[in-house]
């Protein structure tokens, strides 16, 4: 057992640190670009240097490196520390690209992967519908092949970034007579197609992130299908898997926890920092236990993935999402106990919701609400409990209603 990354990876860490110091924040002409263009320019440099999406083959814009979870972890740690725009809009690089690499045609890979990695092509995910949430396979939006075009009708909802996206990858029912899971296809949809209307939804804490998307006879080319007709459900599975891995990432949680400790240090109670109060210390140490549990569980997973002994941590991988959700909610709740009066004030537009940025009181209030989204997006917590019950403990599957 050795918890150090070792010389090879510490050398890589130093290279990444030097790269970040040299490339961010932008200087010279680049400093005058808008935020999006700055991010694209930086991502191009990082891709060229082989630090971003490094396992994507060279012909599609990556570095063609072998999978190495330790290298990826070291790079991500340093990127997070430096505050570079490496996370970007996650749907495209983290979810669509792996799907195209697994199931896409050569033409699709050549056309879409590189601009997606650089951030020039922004994607949204068209899965959920008003009648299809946790029971996603009951989705009803339809695509009908008319000549050499798909004709789209229906509605998607909770579509993050739809108002900013250039493209959507989405699930549509293409085989009306087929059984529930077998009638779905995975389509790639240019968002500026006539017949598509995007209406942003305002979130409970203010601000817009997700949208409703309406399809009323929009036409897209027949070749914009990934995999074969009726195989969209299987194609989409690889994407969901990647979404879960993203949420199991513990670095962001550690950053938020450190900010919570600093909040407790700053907030005064009875003339002393709240951090000096026994109750606050107990609560923080309890969360520290959950967080350290998550971090060492992640270390077990990294080791197992690196050694290609994934089966040893299969159970913990299935628990990672719910575990992370619970820790983030504990942090969010304790923060508001430290600054209860802030909870009466509506967060302002300048209070960041997530990512890097200052932890203002308004951000904590926003986070108090936004942390609930972790229990809903990417597989709701009660669905996670079903998965743990069935796949970790071997409990019987839920009985389905007879009609299904």
């Amino acid at each position: 057992m050795d918890v150090r990354f070792g010389d090879e990876y510490e050398k890589l860490r130093a290279e990444v640190q030097a790269f970040c110091a040299d490339s961010w924040p932008p200087r010279g002409d680049a400093a005058r670009l808008g935020a999006r263009e700055q991010a694209i320019a930086w991502r191009k440099r990082a891709l060229g240097a082989g630090f971003l999406h490094r396992t994507v083959p060279r012909e599609y814009g990556g570095a063609g490196a072998a999978q190495d979870v330790l290298a990826e972890t070291v790079i991500r740690q340093e990127f997070d520390r430096a505050g570079v725009p490496h996370r970007g809009v996650v749907q495209g690089p983290q979810m669509l690209v792996p799907t195209l690499l697994e199931c896409g045609s050569e033409a699709q890979r050549r056309r879409f992967i590189e601009p997606t990695l650089t951030g020039e092509l922004v994607w949204c995910q068209g899965y959920s519908e008003p009648g299809a949430g946790s029971d996603l396979a009951s989705l009803q939006s339809r695509a009908e092949l008319v000549g050499d075009e798909w004709l789209l009708r229906g509605q998607k909802i909770w579509t993050s970034q739809a108002d900013r996206a250039d493209m959507m990858f989405g699930l549509f029912r293409t085989e009306p007579g087929a059984p529930k899971h077998a009638g779905i296809s995975y389509l790639l949809i240019p968002m500026r197609t006539p017949g598509i209307e995007v209406r942003p939804l305002t979130m409970m804490q203010g601000g817009e992130d997700f949208c409703e998307v309406f399809f009323d006879g929009a036409r897209i080319p027949a070749e914009n299908i990934v995999g074969r007709r009726g195989e969209g459900w299987q194609v989409s599975r690889s994407t969901l898997k990647h979404e879960r891995m993203l949420i199991g990432d513990s670095a962001i949680v550690r950053i938020t926890f450190d900010a919570l400790v600093e909040l407790a240090r700053r907030v005064q109670r009875d003339g002393r920092p709240a951090l000096a109060q026994p109750l606050v210390r107990q609560r923080l140490a309890e969360i520290a236990g959950y967080l350290a549990t998550q971090e060492w569980s992640v270390a077990r997973m990294l080791t197992a993935l690196h050694q290609q002994r994934e089966a040893q941590v299969a159970s913990e991988m299935l628990m990672a999402k719910l575990q992370s959700t619970n820790v983030q909610q504990r942090i969010a709740k304790l923060a508001l106990e430290l600054i209860p009066e802030a909870g009466l004030i509506e967060p302002g537009a300048s209070d960041a919701t997530m990512g890097v940025g200052e932890f203002t009181p308004g951000r904590w209030v926003s986070n108090y609400m936004y942390s609930l989204a972790f229990a809903i997006a990417g597989g709701a917590s009660n669905v996670q409990r079903n998965i743990i019950g069935e796949l970790v403990l071997g409990l019987p599957r839920d009985r389905r209603p007879p009609s299904q």
Partner: protein, 356 residues
Amino acid sequence: MDFALSEEQELLQSTVRGFVAKECPPQTVHAVFDGERGAASALWQGLAEIGVAGLCVPESLGGAGLELLELALVAEELGRGAVPVPFLGHALASLALARGGSLRQQEAWLPRLAAGTARATVALAEDGARWLPPDWRVELANSRVSGRKALVPEAEGAALFVVGCRGGGLALVPAGPGVRVTPEPTLDRGRPLAALELDGAAGEPLPACDAASLIDAACVLLAADAFGAAHQLVRATTAYLQARQQFGQPLAQFQALKHQLADMALEIDPTRGLWWYAAHAFDHVPAEAPRAAALAKAHITERAQQVARDAVEAHGGIGFTWESDVHLWFKRVMFDRLWLGAPELHRERYAALEGW
């Protein structure tokens, strides 16, 4: 990074697991709970024969020369089986001697402790929840030890006591004149506790004593034991709910119970790395060891206790009976949570160590 067990470590663990499965089914633990101490002695002898008594004793003195992680891996298996043996005190006393004893002291005791022909334990706590070195008041002066220690594990039959003294020192006190053991009615009958009265007993200091790190080691072993017990409780409860039928179907078919079981597993399964790291840090990252040990003890024993409470509830009426196996683990975990201080004590230590 290699945060995984070596083949040797996996082999050690599976050997002990196999021994426990064969030699210590729940009926054996019940028998010990019902007063058959002979069964406990036989188990300890059997474990000593496969080397468990001397894991951390240097090879030159008849042991295996292993580290705290190996001790903790064994603790996990003993917790999993609620095995009623004097491992905890013996392992800690041996560790204290191996790390802090003079060569003469080591040669006098460690070969016998490793062979299992003599048993040792640690006397740390004093009355009034005085768990930690700064609280100790027993006096060591002129090779004589006087005072009263409380809640000493497996004191009856021990040939040697490692006694915590005023100022944070540790003394070696062999059983003999001036040493009196008074058993306590112990909730976890598998690991009986006793008061230890020392009245001018012969004793000598452990020269390279480090009582604080002995506490760290104890915290890790308690956490590993609680992990093993709670992990087993989740599986035992799962099996029971799959077998027990109500309303014409297994209870496990009801989603409410399925979700309760999932939450129990979620609370305990991922904590394995937390005590692994605390054990590893003890030998390899000493600057991190006190924090990691305090956090592992506080977090895992607390989570395990809640899992044990949930397990009783999920079993229904049968879970509340003496004949059920559930209370064996419930009490095992209560010992792990409360011995050396409740989670609150260790969370406060953690907070102080973090500089909060």
